[in-house]
C-alpha cells in the first residue's frame, strides 16, 4: 500500500503538468529555500535572505506587516459586501439592514470589514511610530518614509470615505463634520479666508463651486456624496494605495532590507 502511494506520488510529481507549475522540489535544501521565495510572485516581495535582526518582533512590532494584512482583510470582506450594497441614498441603509439580518454571515462580514479597517488605522500609526523611534527614515530610507506618509494619509481617507456608506445618522454627521472643513479651505472654500474676494474676482469659492462641494458633490452631505465616496472608497483610493504599497515594499528591499544597527 505504502509502496503504491509512493509510486502515485512520484507519477504526479514527475508529470508535465506538475512540473509546469512547480519549478523546484520541496526538499529542504538551501537552494530550494531560496527558490521558494524567488520563484513565487507573492513571496518574492521578500528578499531571499534577511538579517536575523529584521525578524525580531521587538524591533518591527510586525506593525507594517499587520497594516498590510488588515488591508487585505478589508479587500476580501469589502468585495463580499459589494455584492449586497448599493450606493444609492434610497437603498443603502436598507441594504445594510438586509445584510445584517438576512444574508448568511452578513453581520460577521460587515463586522470584520469594520474592525479590520480600524485595526489598519491603529497599526499604521503604530508602524509610523516605530519607524520614527528606530530612526529608520534616515538615509537611505528617506523616500520610503515619504511613501509611508502618503500611505498614512490614504489609509485615513479610505477609512473616512467608508464611514459614510452605511448611510445612518452616525455616518452622515461624522462625515459632515469632516467635509465641512473643505468649506474652510483658505482661498478655495466658501467659508474660508479670502472667500469673498476670490468669489468676487474669480467666480469660484462660492458655496456651489468650492473645495467643500468638490468633496461632497454638492453643498451638503447628500445622495450625490454617497456615490462619490463609494467610488473613492471602493476604487480610487484602494488602487492608489495598492500601487504605493508595491512601491513601499519594493523600496524596503532596495534600500537594503529592514534597517538595523550598521
Amino acid at each position: 500500500m505504502k509502496e503504491k502511494l509512493r509510486a502515485l506520488q512520484e507519477t504526479i510529481v514527475q508529470s508535465d503538468v506538475w512540473k509546469s507549475i512547480f519549478r523546484h522540489g520541496y526538499a529542504d535544501t538551501p537552494r530550494n529555500r531560496i527558490l521558494m521565495v524567488a520563484s513565487n510572485v507573492f513571496l518574492h516581495l521578500h528578499p531571499s535572505k534577511l538579517r536575523r535582526h529584521g525578524l525580531t518582533l521587538r524591533y518591527t512590532w510586525c506593525a507594517g506587516g499587520l497594516t498590510f494584512f488588515f488591508f487585505l482583510v478589508t479587500v476580501v470582506t469589502g468585495i463580499l459586501l459589494m455584492f449586497y450594497y448599493r450606493p444609492v441614498a434610497e437603498y443603502a441603509y436598507n441594504d445594510m439592514k438586509y445584510l445584517q439580518f438576512d444574508i448568511p454571515f452578513g453581520m460577521i462580514t460587515r463586522n470584520m470589514h469594520r474592525w479590520a479597517a480600524h485595526a489598519m488605522v491603529i497599526m499604521v500609526m503604530l508602524h509610523m511610530f516605530r519607524v520614527f523611534m528606530t530612526g529608520s527614515y534616515k538615509p537611505p530610507r528617506e523616500f520610503n518614509w515619504i511613501v509611508g506618509v502618503l500611505l498614512l494619509t490614504l489609509t485615513l481617507l479610505l477609512s473616512f470615505t467608508g464611514y459614510l456608506l452605511p448611510w445612518d445618522q452616525l455616518s452622515i454627521w461624522a462625515v459632515t463634520v469632516g467635509a465641512n472643513m473643505g468649506k474652510a479651505t483658505p482661498g478655495l472654500g466658501s467659508q474660508g479666508p479670502f472667500s469673498e474676494q476670490i468669489a468676487a474676482w474669480f467666480g469660484i469659492a462660492t458655496p456651489r463651486y468650492d473645495a467643500g462641494s468638490l468633496l461632497t458633490a454638492g453643498t451638503v452631505v447628500a445622495a450625490p456624496t454617497l456615490l462619490r465616496f463609494y467610488v473613492l472608497h471602493c476604487i480610487f483610493i484602494p488602487v492608489v494605495a495598492s500601487l504605493l504599497m508595491i512601491v513601499h515594499f519594493w523600496r524596503v528591499r532596495k534600500d537594503g532590507g529592514i534597517s538595523g544597527p550598521m
Binding site: 510529481v13 514527475q14 522540489g25 526538499a27 529542504d28 538551501p30 529555500r33 521558494m36 521565495v37 531571499s48 535572505k49 534577511l50 538579517r51 536575523r52 529584521g54 525578524l55 518582533l57 510586525c62 499587520l66 445594510m96 445584517q100 460577521i108 463586522n111 470584520m112 470589514h113 474592525w115 480600524h118 500609526m125 520614527f132 523611534m133 528606530t134 530612526g135 529608520s136 538615509p139 530610507r141 518614509w145 477609512s159 473616512f160 464611514y163 452605511p166 445612518d168 445618522q169 452616525l170 454627521w173 461624522a174 463634520v177 469632516g178 465641512n180 472643513m181 468649506k183 474652510a184 479651505t185 483658505p186 472654500g189 474660508g192 479666508p193 479670502f194 452631505v221 447628500a222 550598521m262
Partner: protein, 264 residues
Amino acid sequence: MATDSKQLPEVIDPKTDKVHSWPHLVRAEFLCALLSLIGLMVWSLILDAPLESAADPTKTPNPAKAPWYFLGLQEILVYFDPWMAGVVLPSLIIVGLMVIPYIDINPNGNGYYTWKERRFAVSMFCIGFLILWVLLIIVGVFFRGPGWNFFAPWQPWDTHKVVALTNINLNMFLVENFGLEFLRDPIIAAIFGLGLIGAYYSIGAFYYMVKVKSSKLLQDLGVVRYGITAFLALTMFALPIKMLLRWFFNIKYIVTLPWINMNI
C-alpha cells in the same frame, strides 16, 4: 525528485548574520497573520459594527463626532477656526512628516531604539504624536459630550449643560485688564495681533542669530533646514499655547481680520 523531509540544520551566515526568508520570515509572518485573524474574528463575533437609525439630514445629533481618528483635529477646533484646525494644520502635519528625513541630519540612531542619541527628534515627535495626536483623540472619544462640553466617561451626558462662554479676543482682554484703550480700534488691534504672531515666529530667527556662531549643529543644519524645523516646531507649540490662553484667560482669538474672514 526527492520528497523526503530531512531537517536542514539552521543556516546562519556568520558574516552577515543572515538567514533564509523561507522558512524564517514567512513563518513569522504567517503566525502573526493567523493570530491577528483569530483576534479579529473574536472581536467581530462579540462586537457588532454600529448601525444607528437611517440618515436624516434634518436631525443633527449632539454632539456630532467625526470618526475617532479625526477627533484630535476636531478637538483642535475648540481652539482654532476650521481653516486652521481642518485644513492648514492637517496639511502641515502631512508636509511636516514628509520633510522629517531631510531636516533631521543626525546620523545616529539609524536602525535601533535610542533616546540618548536623538533627544531633540524623539522628544518633538513624542510631544506631537503621543500628546497632540493620541491624547487629544482620547479626550475627543471619551471626554466630550453634547455641545462639545467636557464630561468624564462615567458622567451622564446632560444635553442642557450650559457652560458660560466668556471668551474674548486678545485685544479686548488687554483693553479690559490693562487699560490699553488704543487696542479697541480693529485696525490697530489687527496690526498688533499680527505683530505678536510675527514676534512669536521670530523667536526662531533670534535663536539662530544668537547661537549660530557657537553652535556646530546649527552651522551643519544650515539656514533652510533650521528655518523649516523652527517653523514646524513653533507651529506645533502654538496649539498648547492657545490652549493655555483659553483655559486661563478665556482668550478666543489672537487676531481677527474680518476683512478677509480670517481669525487666528
